[in-house]
């Protein structure tokens, strides 16, 4: 059985889990309602207190939406952040915090970090297992967007060579990310520093935009990429080339290399990357890490938080469901005359049971289905906001976990709905008829 289960495709397994989760509700409903047509009576009961019932369903919806939104949003963030790190096979930096370097290189969050020497860069760049080694240089910004110094090769690699316009060919040229407000041909002056502390007029250099990268779905879409030599020169440092050589891009001369906070490495093979990581993880000189690995560690933490929040959300859903069932128990007293009437007209106890169960199950299930849609809508809205703020391509989508959570809630709701139905059966018929 276990072998058969594991041989199934993941989607088939998820679909079967969904069916299994919905099965209690289907079974209870079909057993209780078998041979009856309680629809018209249930409809009448719902219409009689339509607003109360609507509020019940909306409360359930809000509760389910919180759980669904949380699950969908966490997954969307995880996928988007993993996507952002796709092009960053290996990052080599000065020893320190891998997370800080991950945030600085992949997510372009400003940070002060130590620099790698020209010798280290040279050893990395000339390594036979390195296909591309791009130094990065931070420190400047324009209109809130970071200005990153790097090489033309890295810009082509990052954008899959999809650049509208031309690559920078001089120190005074720049390529912009797809989300930048500048146009090709525009000139701008990089400010020194970031955010409120950024100072204009420090460098006194005007750069011209020559190209625009296609969207990458990463924070690099709202960045300006310039020759690394430009950043070094603007900060009064050597340009990586002999003084009389206005060269652009590698190879860099170690003797004139001013240092770089990080080198983004694209390896020739996966095995090669592991060898590089081992080789350049040196106590005093450098550290090499896989951004994907660091991200998965972060995701594991996020996953723990998600689990805790999911549990809280489940508890809140249960509390809402219990509150609603209490409300339904009160509401059934309002219907006691109608239920007594049905008994007096000869309706079997199971029919009255089916009517009350159907009403409760319908409200809870409708609320759950509505919550699923609201949760998705909220997650989509949040994703748009996060995308706008981080430039990561965050896409919310309904996944199996949300469907499973909703189905589990419906299953539980179908069991809880038995409570008001049982309560109604205990009400004496004659007392009900007399109101």
């Amino acid at each position: 059985m276990g072998t058969l289960w594991h041989s199934l495709p993941a989607n088939a397994q998820d679909a079967l889990i969904l069916v299994a989760l919905l099965m209690p509700a289907v079974l209870i409903g079909s057993v209780i309602r078998r041979g009856f047509a309680p629809g018209p009576v249930v409809g009448a009961m719902i219409r009689r207190h339509v607003w109360t019932n609507a509020i019940f369903a909306l409360l359930v919806a809000a509760s389910v939406a919180t759980g669904v939104g949380l699950l969908a949003q966490e997954r969307a963030l995880r996928v988007a952040s993993a996507q952002s790190a796709d092009k960053f096979d290996l990052v080599i930096a000065a020893p320190g915090s891998e997370i800080t370097m991950l945030l600085a290189t992949v997510f372009l969050q400003p940070s002060n970090v130590a620099l790698l020497s020209g010798e280290t860069y040279d050893a990395v760049a000339s390594h036979p297992r390195v296909a591309l080694a791009a130094p990065l240089a931070f420190g400047d910004s324009h209109d809130g967007a970071p200005v990153i110094g790097t090489t033309a090769e890295f810009v082509r690699y990052l954008s899959d060579d999809r650049i509208d316009g031309a690559m920078f060919e001089t120190y005074e040229q720049a390529v912009i990310g797809s989300a930048m407000g500048l146009e090709i041909g525009d000139g701008f002056e990089p400010a020194h520093g970031h955010g409120d502390a950024a100072e204009l007029g420090v460098h006194g250099t005007i750069l011209t935009v020559t190209g625009r990268m296609a969207p990458t779905g990463t924070p690099w879409d709202r960045a300006i990429l310039v020759p690394v030599e430009q950043v070094w020169e603007a900060h009064g440092m050597p340009t990586g080339h002999p003084i009389d050589d206005p060269g652009l891009g590698p190879p860099f001369d170690p003797a004139h290399f001013p240092g770089t906070p990080a080198i983004v490495v694209h390896g020739t093979s996966l095995a090669g990357l592991y060898a590089l990581q081992s080789q350049f993880t040196r106590d005093a000189e450098s550290m090499a890490f896989f951004p994907g690995t660091v991200l998965s560690q972060l995701h594991a933490v996020m996953g723990d938080v998600r689990q805790a929040m999911s549990l809280l959300s489940l508890v809140s859903q249960m509390l809402v469901a219990l509150a609603i069932l209490t409300g339904l128990l009160i509401l059934t007293r309002l219907f006691s005359r109608q239920m007594a009437l049905l008994r007096a007209l000869g309706a079997p106890a199971r029919f009255v049971f089916a009517v009350v169960w159907s009403q409760a199950a319908l409200l809870l299930s409708t609320g759950a289905a509505l919550g699923l849609m609201l949760g998705f809508a909220a997650s989509a809205l949040l994703s748009d906001i996060v995308s706008a703020r981080t430039d990561m391509a965050v896409h919310a989508a309904l996944g199996w976990p949300e469907l499973h959570a909703t189905a589990a809630f419906i299953a539980l709701a179908s069991v809880l709905s038995l409570v008001p139905a049982l309560a109604v059966l205990r009400q004496p018929t004659v007392a009900g008829l007399r109101g």
Partner: protein
């Protein structure tokens, strides 16, 4: 089809001290006869009616409809007997206001066996038409009191009952509407040969019954009176 009623030593009690609400040593009613139950408020008229309908739990004695000892049946069997043989009409109609007259009259179709549903709906429709109700697709909330009670009568007749039980069917109506309902009940009972038992203060209704049983403090007082010719 109608069923005779035989009651022997019927006692309905209530409370921890078994206070006697109804104490009826004997009552016989032939098939197709009508019986009015009268008496002051609190005399036990409705309690007796509900006991005859098998709705009261704390009963002893015998209520026999035809060959069926009704009180000896379990709750489910009593419900099935009511569905098959008894139609009931109440003082304040007890309709589902959110449903149409058609749906109210045919409400038993919701719990009837599937093969019986079509016939039940057809009979409900016929009964509504016979009682002079038109535009029956609209909600009963928009109907007058008299019309609502006629919908309730149509509901009671839809199951083609052998027995019709009515609890103060005219008490919530004005005189004209009450007279119309009395006529409708009496006509339906006569045409279908139904045994009719009705609780009422309404002398006009009681006057149309074959016999009248007067209750006081849950006990019959004096002799049963025959309806005046």
């Amino acid at each position: 089809m109608s069923l005779p009623l035989r009651i022997s030593d019927l006692k309905v009690t209530a409370g921890a001290r078994n206070r006697v609400l109804v104490d009826l040593p004997r009552l016989d009613l032939q098939s197709g006869q009508s019986l009015g139950i009268s008496g002051p408020s609190g005399a036990g008229k409705s309690t007796l009616l509900y006991a005859i309908a098998g709705l009261t739990e704390h009963c002893s004695g015998e209520v026999r409809w035809g060959d069926t000892d009704f009180l000896a049946l379990r709750s489910g069997a009593r419900a099935a007997f009511r569905a098959a043989h008894i139609g009931m009409v109440f003082q304040d109609f007890l309709l589902f206001d959110e449903m149409s007259a058609d749906a109210n009259a045919a409400i038993a179709a919701c719990f009837a066996p599937k093969p019986a549903r079509t016939g039940l709906r057809a009979r409900a429709e016929t009964s509504l038409a016979r009682l002079g109700l038109t535009d029956t697709a609209r909600s009963v909330a928009s109907f007058s009191g008299g019309e609502r009670q006629r919908v309730a009568i149509a509901r009671a007749l839809a199951g083609d009952p052998a027995i019709l039980l009515a609890d103060e069917p005219t008490a919530s109506l004005d005189r004209d509407a009450a007279d119309r309902v009395i006529e409708d009940l009496a006509t339906a009972a006569r045409e279908q040969g139904t045994t009719l038992v009705t609780v009422s203060h309404d002398q006009a209704l009681l006057a149309r019954m074959d016999r009248v049983l007067h209750l006081e403090n849950g006990r019959p007082v004096g002799t049963e009176t025959k309806r005046a010719a």
